[in-house]
């Protein structure tokens, strides 16, 4: 599904990510971990088209993604959440979903002005689908609340639901467990697995909490200073000397 081949990005004199080889297969749940500043979010930004790699290749579903704008990549099926939640602050819960669903709504500028029958039925369809999505994730009751007025955990969940509304094939989650308490994290782990199964997704997860990472990832890649220093199953990574060294005593499980 996703292939990074020697993807590199430099900012001025600083090489943030260096020659990264990473694959995420169909239906795989892969974790990307590493100390702070290792380049994980930068890698995400390269995959989603926010940054353009200085060199190397990135392919999604077999097609090259270099130079393609993020919104086009979203249309192709790459969705993401952000380290610092980026919900649309002026919009309601339902409207946040609708923005994402806009990709598949198909009715444009002149339709919205004219408001004919076709437009009306498309709008109803979009709303119905959005509400269904919210129902599944237990957010339907708050549909008209301002998205940013939700409790933190719900906001994180909403961001994931919004990403799902774009009907992605690949879901990138950037530290979804940040700021959560242990029981919320358990719910999150279940949520991610549920989402992966139900929507037949590939998932790339960046996360600091090792319980979460080791708990759900099938495969893990470790970045340090922009370089991949290890890759393997959770068990392999836990014992990997380079990884332990990189974290220097940080909680590993």
């Amino acid at each position: 599904m996703l292939e990074l081949e020697k993807a590199t990005i430099k900012f001025g004199g600083l090489t943030a990510v260096s020659e990264l080889d990473l694959n995420v297969g169909e239906g795989e749940l892969v974790g990307l971990i590493g100390p702070n500043g290792a380049g994980k979010t930068t890698a995400f930004n390269m995959i989603t088209g926010v940054y353009r790699p200085t060199s190397g290749q990135i392919r999604f579903a077999g097609k090259d993604t270099l130079g393609i704008k993020p919104n086009k990549l979203a249309a192709r099926g790459i969705a993401r959440t952000f380290q610092n939640i980026r919900l649309f602050a002026s919009l309601s819960v339902l409207d946040n979903i609708r923005v994402a669903a806009r990709l598949h709504n198909g009715e444009g500028y002149f339709s919205a002005l004219w408001r004919g029958k076709g437009w009306k039925s498309a709008e109803a369809e979009t709303e119905k689908n959005a509400l269904e999505l919210l129902e599944i994730f237990d957010l339907a009751e708050q549909r008209d609340e301002l998205a940013v007025s939700l409790p933190y955990g719900d906001q994180r969940r909403l961001e994931i639901v919004r990403a799902l509304a774009t009907k992605p094939k690949l879901l990138l989650l950037d530290e979804p467990a940040a700021g959560m308490n242990p029981s919320e994290k358990v719910d999150l782990m279940r949520l991610i697995q549920f989402v992966k199964e139900r929507y037949n997704l590939s998932v790339l997860l960046v996360e600091h909490d090792m319980k979460v990472v080791m708990g759900i990832c099938e495969r893990i890649a470790v970045l340090e200073y922009g370089i991949k220093i290890a890759e393997g199953t959770p068990k392999e990574i836990q014992c990997h000397p380079k990884v332990i060294e990189a974290y220097l005593g940080a909680a590993a499980g």
């Binding site: 704008k69 919104n71 952000f82 649309f88 309601s92 002005l113 437009w119 007025s149 919004r162």
Partner: protein, 307 residues
């Protein structure tokens, strides 16, 4: 969300406008003029609201679009209008002015929209001024002395009819799934892009739409005052419109309309203080920014849940 029968409101608005225009011969000419000024201000403020309020792009050059529309439709009236003496020619010339203004909006929008915040404001201000200077040097539209003798074709019906159309169009656009994209761009461009919104295209679309209606307002203005001077479309005029949008609470259509009405009528009420009117106006701007940057009419209608 989509208000049922939105088009019904539009038709009602237009009908009311036409009806009102039948009463105009009985009205005081002066008050009529003020009413038309109010209608034009509503169109300007609502159209700018799409750009500045809903989409969050700070444009300080709206008067430039008004000038383009005004001069073009006036030029049409003076050079072609005599030959075509039909009822429909006026709205067509207005729309032509609007379309030219929209084209200029495209030209201004595409390069400018890579910039953010105060840089965008300065660039749009610059474009507005360039339009003014070009108008001041174009003989065909009177150069520095302005364009005189424009036929008085604007009346209450046309003004409020177009105002109704403008309000309908902007509201209909924004209150649709497509239009939520504008607000998404305002809230968070990066998140919007990641969720499939083409932010550049959205911004440019807002610009063009806003410019179109500003052009129509310009045309209505031209055929109301019967005289156009390029200096009347300087950056101060743009600031006037921006203040209406801010006063109304950027993005709140109802508030913006109220602000447009208020700010157009205020000079009339302050007639005795005309010496101090501009000073009060400047003070208003400062106080507004210091105390109520969210606008004068901001009532918290949305339910807020305690965290």
């Amino acid at each position: 969300m989509p208000f049922p029968g939105a088009k019904r409101w539009l038709l009602l608005g237009i009908a009311l406008a036409i009806l009102a225009s039948y009463f105009t011969p009985h009205c005081n000419r002066y008050y009529l003029g003020v009413a038309i000024d109010v209608g034009i201000a509503i169109i300007l403020a609502t159209s700018l609201n799409l750009i500045n309020g809903h989409t969050g792009q700070f444009s300080l050059g709206h008067a430039g679009f008004m000038a383009v529309g005004g001069f073009f439709s006036a030029w049409i009236s003076l050079n072609v209008g005599e030959a075509v003496n039909a009822f429909w020619y006026f709205p067509l010339s207005l729309i032509a002015g609007g379309l030219l203004a929209a084209a200029v909006g495209l030209f201004v929008g595409v390069p400018s929209l890579r910039l953010r915040g105060d840089y965008l404001a300065i660039v749009t201000l610059g474009f507005g001024e360039i339009i003014r200077v070009i108008a001041q040097n174009t003989e065909a539209i009177g150069a520095a002395s302005g364009l005189k003798g424009i036929p008085k074709l604007t009346n209450l019906g046309w003004t409020f009819g177009f105002a109704a159309i403008t309000i309908y169009a902007i509201t209909a656009l924004v209150n649709s799934t497509y239009g939520r994209g504008f607000i998404a761009v305002h809230d968070d461009e990066i998140a919007a892009e990641s969720n499939g919104v083409d932010t550049t295209r959205t911004k440019v679309t807002a610009f063009i739409t806003g410019a179109f209606f500003a052009g129509i307002a310009g045309g209505l203005y031209a055929h109301h005052k019967q005289f156009l001077s390029p200096t009347g479309f300087d950056w101060l005029k743009s600031v006037d419109i921006v203040v209406m949008v801010i006063l109304g609470g950027m993005g709140r259509t109802v508030g913006v309309i109220a602000a447009a009405i208020l700010l157009t009528l205020m000079p009339e009420f302050l007639r005795e203080f005309s010496q101090y009117r501009m000073i009060l106006y400047a003070l208003l701007i400062i106080l507004l920014m210091l105390l109520r940057p969210g606008g004068l009419f901001t009532i918290n209608l949305k339910r807020r849940k305690k965290a």
